[in-house]
Symmetry: C2
Subunit: 384 residues, 2 copies
């Protein structure tokens, strides 16, 4: 990995530069809208719906006006936003190390998820060997998918100590450069490019329809390790009102599952101390990771994220069902946590009602990925 | 229903007229492409894959070149192409009967599927009452969905005799006009509009990318009652080479499930006699219906369909899995039968190899709908 001391500053300008670098490799994913979900979000929840939740004593359920703009990174290459960060990290390594050296040593990461596939793809397209360290117990379809992208897989034990030890061995033997999944400036800057596109796409769509009195007011992103959320926050910082795609400020919010402590980002944000360890088996399996140090510096220390919210497993399942039934797109559970917050978290909804007023908000929601195992999805919905 | 003797002639010009009528009410659904599926379709199947199929003795598996264009009617209003025919039938009734009379008597159909929801929606948007006759044993979510569109539901027994008797009663009591699901010219002309859009969208996309040596060569549509397939065939008949969206002839093919006789259209087509009764419980539940008389006259008698092909349940499931995993869109099993034919039916594939030659074919595939029950989907994939 490029030495962080040589990486570009963590600013919107650097996200713009990252976008130019990776544009030839990634899809500009579509932005979808959905009137049914807008109506649902813009209708107060009933006392019956709030029964059994932490808001059951609420006297007047929140009544926000929300118009959604869904940024569909489930249609991104490898099926998730992770392609953005991986391609950017590889482009930056090509700049700083030269392609020849990289082709000799290769790149390495320890991951069993979307980042492994993203890095394998970015490496393959550049003729660079990719080494992926995966726990022996990884699900066979994930191993097969990563092999399909041409990566060399090295198995390890499943604790992070074991995985890091095997990764060090691979580096010693091959000279491969480490590309971590989220806690690095180059990764964060790459992930932020999705929000740049979203800004431009919303502005273009409103302008085409002649809607001059509205603009993108906020974006809510899922938060696991924090790469996507902190990149989104950078993309929405230092906005210029003279740029037609950003006529006003855009607030950024993070969304997490609350199940068995997966809301480490939210708890850290409101207590002022980063939580460094999480052990949750939330169905939003991409969000089981604790927030990284670089993301924390952007999200909390620089206060570029305006708030963190969480939702329970049932609310994530409800949002997932709505997206499948109403939007007809395939998303993974992690992808809908932001939508679940907007639909079901009364604190968030009260805030939108207060801040958005009569006009309401145009709210960007990043659908982070669509790599769901159909058998797991089957168990999720088949039981009902 | 409008008296068939007063309906427009079954020609491409009438499909164009239908399109002008319904345009304000329907979505122009997107057309998607997918390089992974193109590669898969353009790779010969291995002897192992053909083992246990009727083609296991094939010496040289077919080697066609196929580039898919998926017309996504799963994103249509109510989640299926049926909205086109229903809106067209209602517009035509408004022309012939006047809106006032219709608002008094309403419209009626017996259906538990997508047509019921489509007619309910078309009626509601015109302030017309909709009466839907549904078997008492219909799945509760389907009943709820139809009620959500504001329809009056009358329950009946589940045989077609019982349903038709109740429908007659509703007509006697209310004066409602019958809008059948597929066997009527106005319905067929409405369904054909999807293929018109597909022609224009493919031509526009090829022209934007400067690809002048290719054009849409064929369309494959699922065939149940035959409304969509025969409408597609009309839309591809009498083409004018001076129309930039149709620079050459476009062949039309029908796709059916073979399970327990659901391939009635194919069997009738090749034996010369329409088969009027089908009892199949294929997972492609939209295609359990026998071919109607009007569709038959277009498909078989006028020979506007160039061939009919079928695939088994496992092949439909494989195609379904590919669409979910690779394209990240939600489709119902009926929607992927055309894709399954293109991927797995050696007869179809040999024909494309022969007819398409070195250049291969640009093949339109109509994804007819996306109304799948998640619990059923769960059972389908959860078992594996």
């Amino acid at each position: 990995m490029a030495d962080p001391s040589t990486t570009p500053p963590l600013t919107r300008a650097s996200v713009l530069a990252a976008h130019s670098l990776i544009k030839p490799y990634i899809h500009e994913t579509p932005v979808l809208t959905n009137t049914t979900l807008d109506q649902l979000a813009s209708t107060p929840r009933t006392p019956e719906e709030l029964q059994g939740t932490e808001w059951e004593a609420t006297e007047r359920p929140a009544n926000p006006k929300i118009r959604f703009w869904f940024k569909c990174e489930n249609f991104q290459r490898i099926g998730a936003f992770k392609a953005r960060g991986a391609f950017h990290a590889v482009e930056r390594l090509k700049q700083t190390e030269g392609l020849e050296g990289l082709r000799k040593g290769g790149v390495v990461t320890h991951s069993s998820g979307n980042h492994a596939q993203a890095l394998s793809l970015a490496a393959r397209e550049n003729g660079i060997p990719a080494h992926i360290v995966m726990p022996t117990i990884s699900p066979p379809p994930k191993i097969a998918a990563t092999k399909d992208y041409g990566a060399n897989i090295t198995f390890s034990g499943s604790t992070s100590t074991e995985r890091e030890a095997v990764t060090r061995e691979v580096i010693e033997q091959t000279g491969a450069r480490l590309v971590p999944p989220y806690d690095h400036p180059d990764i964060i800057l790459g992930q932020g490019t999705a929000a740049l596109e979203l800004q431009r796409q919303v502005a273009a769509s409103l302008s085409t329809s002649g809607t001059t009195n509205r603009r993108l007011n906020a974006i809510i992103s899922p938060c696991g390790g924090g790469g996507l959320l902190s990149g989104t926050a950078l993309a929405c910082s230092d906005l210029s009102p003279s740029d037609p795609s950003t006529p006003g400020p855009i607030l950024v919010f993070g969304a997490e599952p609350s199940f068995s402590g997966a809301d480490d980002g939210r708890r850290g944000y409101y207590s002022g101390t980063r939580i460094e360890s999480v052990k949750s088996l939330t169905i939003a399996d991409g969000l089981r990771t604790p927030l990284g140090a670089y993301p924390w510096s952007i999200i909390y220390e620089r206060k570029l994220v305006a708030g963190m919210y969480s939702v329970g497993e049932e609310e994530i399942k409800k949002a997932l069902r709505l997206v499948y039934e109403r939007m007809k797109v395939v998303v993974e559970p992690s992808a809908v946590v932001g939508l679940a917050v907007a639909l079901f978290n009364e604190e968030f909804r009260s805030m939108v009602e207060r801040e958005g007023g009569e006009e309401g908000w145009d709210l960007g929601v990043v659908f982070s990925g669509g790599n769901v195992e159909l058998a797991a999805l089957g168990r999720l919905f088949g039981e009902e």
